[in-house]
Amino acid sequence: MEIRLDKIVKFFGSLKALDNVSLYIGSGEIVGLLGENGAGKTTLMSILYGLYRPDDGMIYVDGNKRYYMDPSYSMSIGIFYVQQFPRLVESMTGTENLKLLLKKDVRDASSILKECSARYVLKIDFDKKVSEMTILERQKLYTLISLALGARVLLLDEPNILLTTDKEFTDFLRKYVKEGNSVLISSHKISAVMDLVDRVYVMRKGRIVADIRDNIKERYDEILKIMFGHKNNSGGIYFEDISGEVISRETTESKSLDKIIELKEIIVREDIERINIYVRKGEIVSVVSIAGKGDKELFDTLAGFRRSIRGEILYRGINITKEPPYKRVSQGIFFIPDNKLDLISPKYKIREMMGLWGLRNNEIIKCLSETSVVYRSQESYVSELSGGNISRMILSILTCTKPSLVVAHNIFSGLDLLGYEMAINLFKKLKSAGTSFLLIMNDYEEALRISDRIYVLSERGSVEINMNEAYKDPMVIWREMIS
């Protein structure tokens, strides 16, 4: 299938979100759509799928002219959109979600998924409830459902962690396009897509500013500059960091021996051994695991959404194992879930969401500007923000509330490089002020860049990594993850 967008324009109120955007996706191609948070990538994908209607421009599908798309038409011709936070029915299993979308015989939903899973080697437990899945599992599940429904073009919105941590998924994409299908991947992370894509479009402030067709890997720095306009000068760490410099070595060593939080003999799932983890004051500790291997359960246990099978959680020496989430929050713990929309509701206004954390008028403006959130006004709804801007908004709350412990699950997902740099700077600032971090992550390289200590979570429970060995050979962590 060939798709061509011609001079697409889209306004949101007075904001010109897309400005004469033209793009081409050929059959058998993987096309990258790069840009910083708020560049217009998600809007463009939404127009291509039919969630939004363009204010001007034309869409050509296999040469046929269309003024706009709509989701049911897109699905009928094989265009599927795997969103950053896929919209699935949470209370249902993967199979049941497919049954909802299948128009014909629903008895075979499970066997259709099994067949697709085997054909493309995409393993996922589709009989598990969606609410129990991580975002990565949901993205993978939605991809599988799309395949089961006959997807010929996949639109993947920010699948960065999937692309960097799940070789199975990247192998699938290569196999998928070899069959004549097409993929459009939007991302703010060049490294996540550069090995995979045939061509990249670079977007900036609602415009396509570059169409790069060859030597993508070699032109890495050039693409960075195009994405962000100029080299940043707010501390200058991100160019260095992404090339492998270890931030935690630059940061001040944690001097305090006070344990802020300690997990003692915790069992979060029957098939995972005991977890023993502690975090000291002013320390950044990461727990890395393969997606779906206990990371969500660990976060939910820490946040108080589920009870551990056994063991106890001590916060400042006090047992909080049975405390409900809000009591943990009131004691100074800030939880950032994998699905950012579980923390920031799109249904409410920015003022209301920020007000929940005790922030008002000028404070809100100050906090949002510190993390460069792009927004219309405090009265606009969170739903108007892009996924990246929602992540930045969370960082702005962190900046202003200064909690004593941050527990986060895949905190960097959805952040572009500038956002990532901001997050790192913020962590350094908060760390020096005494804030501790317990970060549950799937990307071990990212964990190595920012952590003082790292634990690996696998069936064997928690295993602490020797940091000196990991700095020399990061694959130590990976090997432990898959052991």
């Binding site: 879930p337 509701s345 209301e352 954390w357």
Partner: protein, 360 residues
């Protein structure tokens, strides 16, 4: 090429647009309905048209009384809706609340005692579906709907057997005169306008509207309460003390609802009686009051001030109901009034846009 499509408005409607749209829709829908009734039936139309065109009804004491009662009930249910609790058992709860005043009358507890018993009964009864929803993930809609019938059966049983009055028909004894609200005396100039609406109810509806509007849209507590309707997970991870806000929700709604039921009972029949025609329900209250108030609550959740306008429109419908028209026509008129409110809301929240594409 020209295209028409519907778009959700992001901004709140202005007061002028709100009032104008409501009035226009009411006139259009209700009057169109009357014409349809005129064409399809051959009776009572003259009376109905006369009442509809009689402008003195617009500010009759009975309309004002019903406006206040519907507004109070809607505001009570609105705070439930804001907190994510759809209470389909409005009528049953009003009946239970009335029972509180009856108990106070029988045991000489006075008006304050009546309010306290009434509030406690409402909190206890209304908390069942709310807590079951939060902690057991059950359906608040279904449970409160079921509870509605249970409450009405309980009240029917109580007035027929436990607290039965001396008359042959199953009804409670009349409420003691010491249990009463304060009304404008007949010599006062306001009497013709306010009629039988108590001072407490008028003050209550004004305070409740302003307070709820401010609480829900401008305060951290109000927003915390509203967050429960989005997701208890989001609320708890944001530090919202869920039990405290459930209690706050039930407490505020119970106080407002008790005032509504006090006005309904003490300013009306002053007895609770079994509805022999319907075999269920309380004769002391108009049919469908709970559902109508819930509809207003859902429509006004983003702007509690709208409750006053919608309550007035529905009260006008109820006045028409009070005519000696057939049951079918009475129900149809209330339905039309409700439809006009719904269409107003749709027009205020959505706009039809015309778009066009330039040729390339």
């Amino acid at each position: 090429m020209i295209l028409a499509y519907v778009k959700r408005r992001s901004e709140e409607p202005s007061l002028i647009r709100l009032v104008l749209t409501s009035v226009i829709m009411y006139v259009l829908v209700v009057f169109t309905g009357i014409i349809v009734l005129m064409l399809s039936t051959g009776f009572e139309i003259r009376d109905l048209t006369r009442v509809l065109l009689d402008y003195t009804n617009l500010a009759s004491p009975e309309v004002i009384r019903y406006t206040v009662i519907i507004a109070l009930l809607s505001l009570a249910l609105l705070i439930n809706v804001a907190g994510g609790y759809i209470n389909l058992g409005g009528e049953g709860i009003v009946a239970l609340s009335m029972l509180g005043f009856l108990i106070a009358s029988i045991y000489d507890l006075g008006i304050l005692g009546g309010f306290i018993v009434s509030i406690l009964l409402v909190i206890a009864w209304a908390s069942i579906p709310y807590l079951a929803k939060i902690y057991l993930d059950s359906s608040d809609v279904l449970l409160s709907f079921l509870q509605n019938f249970i409450a009405l059966f309980i009240i029917n049983h109580i007035v027929a057997h436990v607290f039965r009055g001396e008359l042959a028909r199953p009804r409670s004894p009349p409420i003691d005169p010491s249990i009463n609200l304060h009304y404008v005396s007949q010599s006062n100039i306001l009497y013709g306008f306010l009629g039988r609406v108590s001072i407490e109810s008028i003050i209550g509806v004004v305070i409740a509207t302003i307070t709820l509007s401010y609480l829900l849209t401008r305060t951290r507590a109000g927003f915390s309460l509203r967050l429960l309707s989005y997701s208890t997970k989001t609320a708890s991870i944001s530090g919202v003390n869920i039990p405290r806000y459930i209690l706050l929700n039930l407490l505020i709604s119970s106080v407002v609802l008790s005032l509504a039921s006090a006005e309904l009972l003490l300013g009306g029949t002053r007895v609770i009686y079994y509805n022999e025609n319907a075999k269920i329900g309380i004769g002391s209250m108009s049919f469908g009051l709970g559902y109508v108030s819930l509809s207003i609550a859902i429509l006004s959740v983003r702007n509690p001030y709208i409750v006053l306008l919608y309550s007035y429109i529905l009260a006008l419908g109820y006045i028409i109901v009070s005519l000696s028209a057939s049951l079918v026509i009475r129900v149809a008129i209330v339905g039309l009034a409700l439809l006009s409110v719904l269409l107003t809301e749709l027009l205020l929240r959505y706009e039809v846009r015309l778009g066009w594409y330039s040729k390339h």
